[in-house]
C-alpha cells in the first residue's frame, strides 16, 4: 500500500484515487462476488464502496488501515445490495452465468453439490455470508475478521458457526442424494 497515494487521494487527487481503485478493485470485486453470487451486483457493490471511500477518505485516520476499511465499506455495500435484491425480487432466483461456471473438466465441486451450496448460501443472512467468504476465500481468521469488520470475536465465531452448520447441511443433503442414487 502506497501511503503517498492515500494522502494524495485524501487531498482530492483523482489520479491517486484511481490508482487505488486499480490496486484494490480486483480483490474487492472477488470478495463481493463471493458474498453476492452475482457479477452485476458485485460490480455495483464495488462501485458504491469506492464512491463512499472517495467521499469519506479524509476521515480515515490510519492510512495503514485502508484495506481493512475498504473491506468494511464493501461488506456494508453488499448488505445494501442484498436488501435491494430482496426488495425488488420477491422470489430470489438463482442466476447462472455460463461465463463463470467452470466446465465439467475442471470442476472442483460437483454440479449437484454446487447447486446445493448455492441454495444454502443464498439462505444465509448477509452477515453470515460475509464472514464465511472472508474466512474461506480471504483465509482470514475469526479474530482478523472481527478486527476488519469491527465486530466482537464472539459475534464472528457465532456467525461462522451457524453459517458453516447450514452449509454442512447442504453438503450432507448432497451426500444423501448420491448415496440413494438419485443423482446417478
Amino acid at each position: 500500500m502506497d501511503r503517498d497515494l492515500v494522502e494524495r487521494a485524501k487531498q482530492g487527487d483523482k489520479d491517486a484515487f484511481t490508482a487505488l481503485v486499480v490496486q484494490y478493485g480486483d480483490r474487492l470485486f472477488s470478495v463481493a462476488y463471493r458474498i453476492l453470487r452475482d457479477t452485476t451486483r458485485a460490480e455495483d457493490a464495488v462501485q458504491q464502496t469506492f464512491l463512499t471511500a472517495w467521499r469519506e477518505l479524509r476521515r480515515l485516520r490510519d492510512d495503514d488501515r485502508l484495506e481493512a476499511w475498504l473491506y468494511r465499506l464493501l461488506v456494508n455495500a453488499c448488505f445494501a445490495e442484498i436488501r435491494h435484491t430482496r426488495r425488488w425480487q420477491p422470489g430470489l432466483r438463482v442466476i447462472t452465468d455460463p461465463e463463470i461456471a467452470p466446465s465439467s473438466d475442471d470442476t472442483q465441486v460437483s454440479v449437484a453439490l454446487r447447486d446445493e451450496l448455492e441454495r444454502a448460501f443464498r439462505r444465509l443472512s448477509g452477515d453470515q455470508r460475509a464472514v464465511l467468504a472472508m474466512h474461506h476465500y480471504l483465509g482470514l481468521s475469526g479474530a482478523e475478521i472481527a478486527e476488519t469488520l469491527g465486530l466482537s470475536r464472539g459475534t464472528v465465531r457465532s456467525r461462522l458457526h451457524y453459517a458453516r452448520q447450514q452449509m454442512r447441511a447442504a453438503i450432507e443433503a448432497d451426500s444423501r442424494l448420491v448415496a440413494t442414487g438419485e443423482l446417478a
Binding site: E43, V46, A80, L132
Partner: protein, 330 residues
C-alpha cells in the same frame, strides 16, 4: 472432525470458483463518477459530533431532492413547457435512451437527463445504519425506513423518528411469504405498507394498510381476494393513487391501481402472463407506470412494460431489466 475438515475443504474449493477481476467498465464508471461525488470533511472539523451525522444526512436528502426537482423542472422546460409530462407516451415511444453513467442496466425512458435517479433517496450512503430505505417524501424532508427490528419508521429532517408500524408482529413476515414494500405520500403525511391480515398461513392473506404519520393505528385499505402476497405499493407523484402488485402464493402476479383512500381498485390486465412482477414505478407526471416482470411460461421472457394508469396502452421496453423514469428516484 473429518467431517468438519471435509466441509472446510469443500467450502474452500467452492469459494475459489468465480470471477476475480473487476471489469474495466466498472473502473471507468467509478472514475467517471468522482466528479459528482464531493469529498466530505471529517466530522470534527465541522464542529459536530457523531450523532450529528444522521441529521446532516437528512438535510442532505432534502437539499439533493430539491436540486433534483429543480433539475427535473429544467428538463421539463427544455422539453416544451412548464408542467409538461416527463416520460410521456410520446417521448417513451421515441425510444430516446440516454447513456447511463454506470454499467448498471438502468434505462432512462425518454429523457436525455437522468437527473434525479441516482441521487437523493436512492443514495445508499444516506440510509441510516442497519436500516433499509423504502421511500422518501416528494420534498425529501422525510424518509421511510425499516430498521433491523422490523419497525417501520418515518425519519424527519431534524432527525426525529415516528414509528408507523411494528412489522415484527407479523409472524409470517419472514421467508418467501414476506410482503414487500411501503410508500410514503409525497407530502410525507401518510404511509401505505404491505402486510398480512392473518399471520402464519402459507398463502398469505396479504393486504395494504394505511396510516397517517404520527396519528392512530394502521387501517386495512385493501385485501387480496386470492390470499396473495401484496407488494410494491407506490404512491403516484400527486399522492392521489397507489399502484401495487398482488399475487397468488407468490406467483401469478397482478398489478392494481386504486385511489389512495382505498376506493376504486382496478386490476391491470397486461400481457405479462401469470408471472412475477418485480417492481412498479410512476413517471414524474403520473401519466405512465412502468413494471418489471418475468413471465410464465418462460417463453414470455422478462422485461419492462409501461402502461397508462387506467390499464391501457401497454408498451414493451426492450433491452432493459431495470427502469428509471426521468425526474424520479431510482
Amino acid at each position: 472432525m473429518n467431517q468438519d475438515l471435509n466441509v472446510d475443504s469443500i467450502l474452500d474449493g467452492w469459494f475459489t470458483e468465480g470471477p476475480t477481476r473487476l471489469p474495466d467498465r466498472s473502473v471507468e464508471a467509478i472514475v467517471g463518477r468522482l466528479d459528482g461525488t464531493p469529498q466530505r470533511r471529517p466530522i470534527a472539523s465541522l464542529g459536530g459530533v457523531q450523532l450529528d451525522r444522521y441529521a446532516l444526512a437528512l438535510v442532505g436528502v432534502a437539499a439533493v431532492a430539491a436540486a433534483a426537482v429543480l433539475a427535473a423542472n429544467l428538463v421539463s422546460n427544455r422539453q416544451g413547457g412548464v408542467g409538461g409530462p416527463l416520460g410521456s407516451p410520446s417521448s417513451s415511444a421515441s425510444g430516446s435512451v440516454a447513456p447511463s453513467p454506470t454499467p448498471r442496466r438502468s434505462l432512462d425512458l425518454g429523457s436525455s437527463q437522468p437527473v434525479a435517479g441516482r441521487i437523493g433517496c436512492g443514495n445508499q450512503g444516506l440510509i441510516p445504519l442497519r436500516a433499509t430505505l423504502l421511500d422518501c417524501s416528494g420534498d425529501g424532508t422525510r424518509v421511510l425506513v425499516l430498521n433491523s427490528n422490523l419497525d417501520l419508521l418515518v425519519v424527519h429532517a431534524d432527525g426525529s423518528e415516528t414509528q408507523v408500524a411494528q412489522l415484527s408482529q407479523l409472524e409470517a413476515y419472514r421467508g418467501s411469504s414476506r410482503p414487500v414494500g411501503a410508500t410514503i405520500s409525497p407530502d410525507g403525511t401518510r404511509v401505505i405498507f404491505a402486510g398480512l391480515t392473518t399471520a402464519g398461513l402459507s398463502c398469505h392473506n396479504g393486504a395494504l394498510f394505511g396510516v397517517d404519520v404520527g396519528a392512530g393505528l394502521p387501517e386495512v385499505l385493501w385485501e387480496s381476494e386470492r390470499d396473495g402476497i401484496v407488494s410494491y405499493p407506490t404512491f403516484s407523484p400527486d399522492g392521489t393513487r397507489i399502484a401495487f402488485a398482488d399475487s397468488y402464493c407468490d406467483h401469478d402476479h397482478n398489478v392494481w391501481v386504486m385511489n389512495a383512500d382505498g376506493t376504486d381498485p382496478r386490476q391491470i390486465v397486461g400481457p405479462f402472463g401469470a408471472g412475477r412482477v418485480h417492481g412498479v414505478a410512476w413517471s414524474a407526471a403520473g401519466d405512465r407506470i412502468a413494471l418489471s416482470y418475468s413471465g410464465v411460461p418462460d417463453s414470455l421472457g422478462s422485461g419492462i412494460l409501461t402502461f397508462a394508469p387506467d390499464g391501457s396502452d401497454f408498451r414493451q421496453v426492450s433491452g432493459a431489466d431495470e427502469f428509471c423514469w426521468p425526474g424520479r428516484r431510482c
